[in-house]
């Protein structure tokens, strides 16, 4: 999974989730979720504990949707049936049928999104993604390197958050983790940092429109295209065949 071009992977998974969002096919949703999780776990170097932890919110949301759909879906489903508005995408009826199916449809959809998200998040490298977006999807270098710089500053910002908290504490000022008291120093620093970073990048020769060499090629290969077509075709086929 790691060798798939991250830009293509992202695009594929976004299209896949759009396809699923237009339909309510429980079996396909569950299949997509399982397939994604199996693919993620099968990829080497994936931390399974963190994966399970990351999936937890999705399971909880799915559970919430499930119970909501089960207990409060009655009126909506009945009305929908009575009004009889019926649309279809990929041959799927997009109307709510009964309470049980409503619940399953909503819950399984959340799981499918979760699976797609995990597949991407756990098997992709942020650096390669940005490089691929720049090389294959024409993201301007200005944004690409800006995103990377911001991304690399996360550990520093976290450290700063702690320092500001400590500073408040020694001053005897009480401030919760989301207090606006923390905002002023953090904001002042963010401004200072962004400016000095921009100056540093420029003094290292960075110019948006200038010709530049590429040290990291993120290749676009046949297998990436095959992955994109394969995944999307499989979902489309599933939606058309499984009723």
């Amino acid at each position: 999974m790691r060798s798939i071009n991250p830009g293509v992977k992202l695009a594929t998974l976004i299209v896949a989730s759009l396809m699923l969002s237009l339909t309510y096919n429980v079996a396909v949703n569950v299949a997509v979720c399982l397939a994604c999780l199996v693919a993620t776990v099968a990829t080497s170097g994936v931390n399974r504990r963190r994966l399970a932890l990351a999936l937890l919110p999705f399971f909880l949301t799915a559970l919430a949707f499930f119970t909501t759909g089960l207990f409060f879906g009655a009126g909506g489903a009945g009305n929908a049936e009575a009004v009889g508005v019926s649309t279809s995408v990929f041959g799927q009826r997009t109307l709510l049928a009964t309470d049980w199916t409503t619940a399953m449809q909503l819950a399984s959809r959340v799981l499918a999104y979760g699976g797609l998200g995990m597949l991407f998040a756990f098997t992709s490298n942020a650096f390669e993604l940005v490089m691929s977006l720049m090389q294959q999807f024409r993201l301007p270098p200005k944004f690409a390197y800006g995103i990377l710089a911001a991304y690399h500053f996360f550990p520093v910002v976290r450290e700063e958050f702690g320092t500001v908290g400590a500073a408040l504490k020694v001053r005897g000022v009480k401030a919760g983790p989301f207090s606006t008291r923390r905002l002023l120093p953090m904001l002042a620093h963010a401004l200072e940092r962004s400016e000095s970073l921009a100056m540093a990048m420029e003094s290292r020769g960075f110019e948006n429109d200038a010709p530049r060499r590429v040290a990291f090629r993120v290749p676009l290969r046949a297998r990436d295209v095959a992955f994109a077509l394969g995944v999307l075709a499989a979902i489309a086929a599933g939606l058309m065949l499984v009723r």
């Binding site: 002023l184 100056m199 110019e207 530049r212």
Partner: protein
Amino acid sequence: MRSVARMSSGKAHIGPDAPNASALSVRGARTSVAKAPRDIPALSCRGLTFRYAEGETPVFSDISLSVQPGETLLVMGPSGCGKSTLAYCLAGLYPDYAGVLEGSVEVEGRPIDRMGPQERSRAVSILFQNPDNQFCMDTVLHEVLFALENVDCPGDLDARAHELLELAGLDGYARSPIHTLSGGTKQKLALVTALATGARTLVLDEPFANLDPLSCRRLAGELERLKRRGVTLVVVDHKPGWWLPFCSRIIFMERKGNLDELAFSPAEAPARREAFAARGLFLGSDWLRGVHPPHLAGDASAALEARDLTVRHGRTPFLSGLSLALPRGSVTSLVGECGSGKSTLLTALAGAARFSGSVESAGRVGLVFQNPRFQFLALTVSDEVLVTLRASRPGVPDEQLAPVAHGLLEEFGLDARAQASPYELSQGQQRRLALLAMLAADCDVLLLDEPTYAQDERSTRFILELLMKRVERGLAVLVATHDVELARAISNQVLLLEDGSLRALSPQEVDRYVEERKEPPCGA
């Protein structure tokens, strides 16, 4: 010689035996300049006037300066004299990033404002004071490659990057994440990336301000090697120590005029001791002669006592089993390399970080951070003091606190700026305000993290005097510092933090420690 020649990038590649480093080659398509003759200054400015905003009083006006190829020029001046601003102008960053500039800056005879960043960085690059905030990639190797990509460097980028890293002795760090490096290693990396662009002139803005003495020595050695290879260096600093052994000229920054006329050689520096003093600048450590540790009564009780203190980073103990006592009315210094945990220890002692073990203090413990700006919470200087006063004296109305705040601001020489924003103050003033904001709470113990960092002599003295006055009244002070000579001069005890443990140094050990780390002497 070989590597510098190869650094000057370009499709028209210079052979390994190019005669001198000022040989210039830029992509043929853009310019026809092939070589900069010897007599053209590497960097020069004429009639330079800079204002931060239209209509404001200029930071400096009508400044002229020229730097010859291969020269190392040291520009000195007290905090806030505009020397960093001049550095940014010379590097072509101002007025793009701030202010209004009149006059001209030329790099190798070409006006800098007509060059794009790519072309400019092949001629001149800058090293910033703060080793953080100047990298945008994750690892050391990626950062160097980023610079090589930017200037469209020909040839094998990977090989070139490794070659550059090897030159600075950083090849072992190629895959290390940048945020795990020490300040000194970061500055070295910044140097490598600046050279990767092919720059033949480097502007350095107080590059040693954040470094421990051993890192300073190594970086100074590195810069001296570059000088010998023909790289032109323009250094802005208020401490001459590390530069005197190899700089070609010293210039005092003035607000106006031709700076070249004021230049003198480093050999003349000792004879100009008074000129240094008049500007509030350091020249060696002689100013410490009149500074002594406070007199300590034999039976002084401990204002703060820590026993078996352990601080963890995640699950691994970072500092373990530390014990120390700070007697009332005493000064204790905490020394140790960058990253040895001095700041972590101070934060734990102030009760603002998690630790195990016991810390007992007789009263309030104050902590002044290395970067005072982390501590500012209010929009004006006087409010900043009031925040602390309100927190330390709950229930007292503001009308009673205001005169107290005013008195304190007067003592600290900040009353004229009472309505200014803390962020508008000069570095020295910010440092004093941070100190004041802590002392206003009637602390019994004060922990200071690098209180003299980036301060000129005048400001350092001012802070020391304020501090010592309070020590006489019984304040216990713990100072974490890289200034080993200062530590020796002011302290009743010196503690060394090394490999996660703490021990008190004997006077002989302190002397040895200082000898190994002090700046080169500045003459008699």
